[in-house]
Symmetry: C2
Subunit: 343 residues, 2 copies
Amino acid sequence: MAASIRDVAEHAGVSVGTVSNVLNRPDVVSAATRERVLDAIAALGFVRNESARQLRAGHSRTIGLVVLDIANPFFTDVARGVEDVANSAGLAVILCNSDDRPEKESAYLDVLAEQRVQGVLITPTAELSPHLQTLRRRGVPVVLVDRRAPGPDQCAVAVDDVLGGRLAAEHLLERGHRRIAFIGGASGLPQVQERHAGIETAVRDATGGDDALVVFSPEQLTVDAGREAAARIVGMPAARRPTAAICANDLMALGVLQEMVRQGVRVPDDFAIVGYDDIDFAASAAVPLTSVRKPRQALGSRAAELLLDEARGGEHAHVQEVVEPTLVVRESSMVFRDREGTP
Amino acid sequence: MAASIRDVAEHAGVSVGTVSNVLNRPDVVSAATRERVLDAIAALGFVRNESARQLRAGHSRTIGLVVLDIANPFFTDVARGVEDVANSAGLAVILCNSDDRPEKESAYLDVLAEQRVQGVLITPTAELSPHLQTLRRRGVPVVLVDRRAPGPDQCAVAVDDVLGGRLAAEHLLERGHRRIAFIGGASGLPQVQERHAGIETAVRDATGGDDALVVFSPEQLTVDAGREAAARIVGMPAARRPTAAICANDLMALGVLQEMVRQGVRVPDDFAIVGYDDIDFAASAAVPLTSVRKPRQALGSRAAELLLDEARGGEHAHVQEVVEPTLVVRESSMVFRDREGTP
DNA sequence: CAGGTCGTCTGAATCGTTTCACAACGGAGG
DNA sequence: CCTCCGTTGTGAAACGATTCAGACGACCTG
């Protein structure tokens, strides 16, 4: 059906080797011949067959990216960072969505192995899949994204989530909150556990105990889960009810915000909310969300750079980067006096 | 490096043909031999080489999906629909983001052609790229998503955006609005133009003229663009200032909402907003957005089904589907009396 | 017992590209 | 005129899986 390099060769009256040279090393072929070959290519509508190239080369010109939740804008921003770097290196990205489910993750890792991707970028589910180990044993570089490496034999670009949790908690504690909810997930993601730990430390430092912290662990880290948690908070007796919440991600924070508003709870006057990730929608919520900012796109591009370096071969020093998040204070956690500038 | 089918054959003491049979037609090989081959596969950690399969097969086991803006949750929802269908057919999806730029789109179409994808799903930029025609001439099925087909020789799953625009406009007109802004894009996307046309019709039917409609055409359909348009609206003299806006998508609507709130304009009491697409974030905005709902995920899955049907070969009747959107009324367009239930 | 059938396995051809050793040619230098 | 060299171009051997015609027994049937 499709024209092959051989058809082009015949049409141009040269050998297949020459056509290949025109394609890959145009300088070694004379201008006249090159012209003829190029004409033939245009005439036949020839398009290189990547499969054949890859077969010969032993590897493909793609990398895999496996994320936890494609519906979370955090990950689309990461993906964009990855894409930019990969594209300028002439690589395509195969984007896979594990939905935080180990089976889906494993299935995708198998697909990527069969595709002979040059490397895999992954924000893994709670447990590191054995398929990841297998991949690495086969010599496929794997870089963890938004997750610390388990050892020094692997690259990772992570965020200091203990610090992130601490920043969020200290911010609320400074504003006088003494009953704070942490709305995290039950999946056991270390990122979330670290945030929890950071919050606990800050709370303990400020109050001398854990009593000020109420933990909610919904199944998933979604907007709906945030809504439900908010409903439960509103239903608590006033004496024990938290006055603020730190959410494990902005999706949940938006859910909390929405439910609070729906129930007539004023944000931030009656209830303060701090999110995590600082996705764009956090700033565009009608009550803009205070959030712990991670460099979303940079996370992706940096991880991709490390992956490409490792894939390029040569000496490669594994790097475990941990970037520090910052707190972006917006209206959702400002008590009224702050807005007015009076003490 | 990696074990090939030949290594497996040697290790198991059989021919390569037999190994291939174990992989593809396990029933034609005796249980004993199958066992031996399976053991060898496990022992060597053999993983099929997709490139070789594809080369032989003449096509890959992937489809391409090209979207206008991966940061827009509308498209991630579409992508999820595509993914579900593709995965259960054993196909992988290569997700490409054109950013509404024809050059990027063309570049990605070239990549997809080289990958010998089984088909391409695309929400194209304003002009249909010649690369699309080329693809189709090469026999690669192309299905348009959220865009009408230019002719009957092609599948498409579109939305009746004239109706969508009309629904949005009638809703506002019924509530008494007589100066309405349409915040669309300058890129010339037919979807947006149709919405515009539907709005114009409704306005003309209700008021007998075009005077009630003010059109804004920002460069892009983003949150920021929405914010800027809102700022311009607020800056207009009260006599000419619209009392409501219909936005070409929810991203812009969220931007408008945010800026209005920031400027102290009450939504919906002082200004009503209607978005388009009904992304999840529309409902979770603190002033929940009225929006024109499109079946986002279904759009993707239906398009993928059509593509697979066409790719499967056999007789395939091209289908141009046009689904009807519905208006989801939420708070952002409810005037106060509506909320209270009084006329 | 010849001939046929069935189940199982083999081996070679094939897909389209890249790569590399080598051939052909022309010109420069001796 | 011969040799040497650089420039171009050739052609065949990979890469790894699939497929298909056919080999080979074993078994059945008339």
